[in-house]
Amino acid sequence: MALLSFLFNSKPKTASAAKERLQIIIARERSGRTGYDFLPALHAELIAVISKYTKVDPKDITLSLDRKGDLEVLDVNVVLPEIEMRS
C-alpha cells in the first residue's frame, strides 16, 4: 500500500484551497480600505438635498460601494414616498 501511494502520488492538492481562501479574504479586506470614507458625509448631504424637494425617510436612502471586476460602482438608492393621488 505504501509502495502504491509512493508510486501513484495521491496527496490532496491543497494549493487550490489556499488560493480560493486568499481570494475571498483579500477581496473583503481590500473593500474595507478603499479610502472612500466620504460615504457618511455624502449620505447626510443627499438626505438634506432630497428633503428640500420631497419628503423622504432617511432610511430610504442607501449608499453602497461595490466592486465589479476592475470597476468600482457607487450605488445610490432612493425610495420616494408614495404620492397621494389627488382626485
Binding site: 508510486l7 496527496k11 492538492k13 494549493a15 488560493k19 486568499l22 481570494q23 483579500i26 479586506e29 480600505r33
Partner: protein, 271 residues
C-alpha cells in the same frame, strides 16, 4: 537620479533581509553606488547577514539624532567597493526614528551620489516599517507562496498606497514589484504550494523574480555572506536576474519548473 527602494513584506521571516543584502550587493556588483539601511531598530540583523557586525560603531539612530555623522556610521562592504551599510540601532527606542530624521539621512545619501538606497524594512506594520516605506520610489514586496505571507503582503501594499510620501503627495505612485522567495517548484507541481502565477493573480503587481527554496541560503548567512555570492547556485543566479530585471533587462524566469524524475530514478534513488 537616486532611487529609494524599500524591501518589505508585512510578515516576518520571509526573506527581507536576505533579499535586501543580495539585491544591494547585486546592484553594487553591477557598478552602481549603493547604500543599504537596516530599519529594524532594536533587532538589527542586516549587519550579520552582510558579515560586518564587528565593524559597527555608529548606527542609523546615532545619525538621526546628530550623535554621529553619516560618513562615520556608513560601513564599507567587505566585497564591493561601492556598497555601504547603515546598521540599525540595537539598543535604542524605535521612536527615535523620526520622519524628519530619516528624510535628512536619505537626502544626505543622495547628496553623496548614491544611485540606489535600499531600505530593509522590519516586519509588521508599526513605526519602523512605516518609516522604511515612507520615502520609497519603488517597493519590492517579498512574499512566500503561503497564505499568511500573501495576505500580509496585500496589507503592506495597502499601506504603501496610503501612507508613502508619493501617495500623500498625489504624484506618481510607488512602483511595486513582487519577489516570491522560498519557492519550491516540486511542491507547486505536487499541488501543495501556491504557484507564482497564483500569488501574482491575487496580489496583482508585476513579478520581478522568484528565488527557489535552498539550503544554501542558511549556509551563506552562517558565514555572513549575502546569498548572491554563492558560486553556481540557483539562488544566486535568481538574485542576479532580479537585479538585471530591476535595471530594465528582459530576462526569462529560471528555476520555476520541476522536472519529474523518471520511473527508474524514483525507484532506485535520487531525492
Amino acid at each position: 537620479m537616486a532611487r529609494i527602494i524599500v524591501i518589505t513584506s508585512g510578515k516576518g521571516g520571509v526573506g527581507k533581509t536576505t533579499s535586501s543584502a543580495s539585491f544591494a550587493t547585486g546592484l553594487a556588483l553591477r557598478g552602481h553606488k549603493t547604500a543599504v539601511i537596516d530599519f529594524d531598530v532594536g533587532l538589527r540583523n542586516l549587519d550579520l547577514i552582510m558579515g560586518c557586525e564587528r565593524r559597527v560603531v555608529y548606527d542609523l539612530i546615532n545619525v538621526v539624532s546628530g550623535e554621529a555623522t553619516l560618513r562615520q556610521a556608513l560601513i564599507k562592504d567587505k566585497h564591493c567597493e561601492n556598497l555601504f551599510i547603515l546598521p540599525a540601532s540595537q539598543t535604542r527606542d524605535k521612536d527615535a526614528l523620526t520622519e524628519e530624521g530619516v528624510e535628512r539621512v536619505l537626502n544626505e545619501l543622495i547628496q553623496m551620489d548614491f544611485e540606489f538606497i535600499i531600505c530593509d524594512s522590519p516586519a509588521g506594520i508599526e513605526h519602523g516599517a512605516i518609516m522604511a516605506l515612507t520615502f520609497a520610489d519603488e517597493a519590492i514586496i517579498v512574499t512566500n507562496p503561503e497564505v499568511s505571507s500573501v495576505r500580509d503582503s496585500d496589507r503592506i501594499l495597502g499601506i504603501i498606497q496610503a501612507k508613502s510620501r508619493r501617495a500623500l503627495n498625489g504624484g506618481e505612485p510607488v512602483k511595486e514589484h513582487l519577489l516570491v522567495t522560498r519557492y519550491s517548484p516540486k511542491r507547486v507541481d505536487a499541488g501543495e504550494m501556491l504557484s507564482y502565477t497564483d500569488v501574482q493573480e491575487i496580489l496583482r503587481i508585476p513579478l520581478i523574480g522568484i528565488i527557489p527554496e535552498s539550503e544554501e541560503v542558511l549556509s551563506a548567512s552562517n558565514q555572513g555572506n549575502p546569498a548572491i555570492h554563492i558560486k553556481d547556485s540557483p539562488v544566486s543566479q535568481a538574485y542576479v536576474d532580479v537585479v538585471g530585471r530591476f535595471l530594465g533587462e528582459d530576462l526569462p524566469l529560471r528555476f520555476t519548473d520541476y522536472e519529474k524524475p523518471g520511473f527508474l530514478k524514483r525507484i532506485f534513488g535520487g531525492k
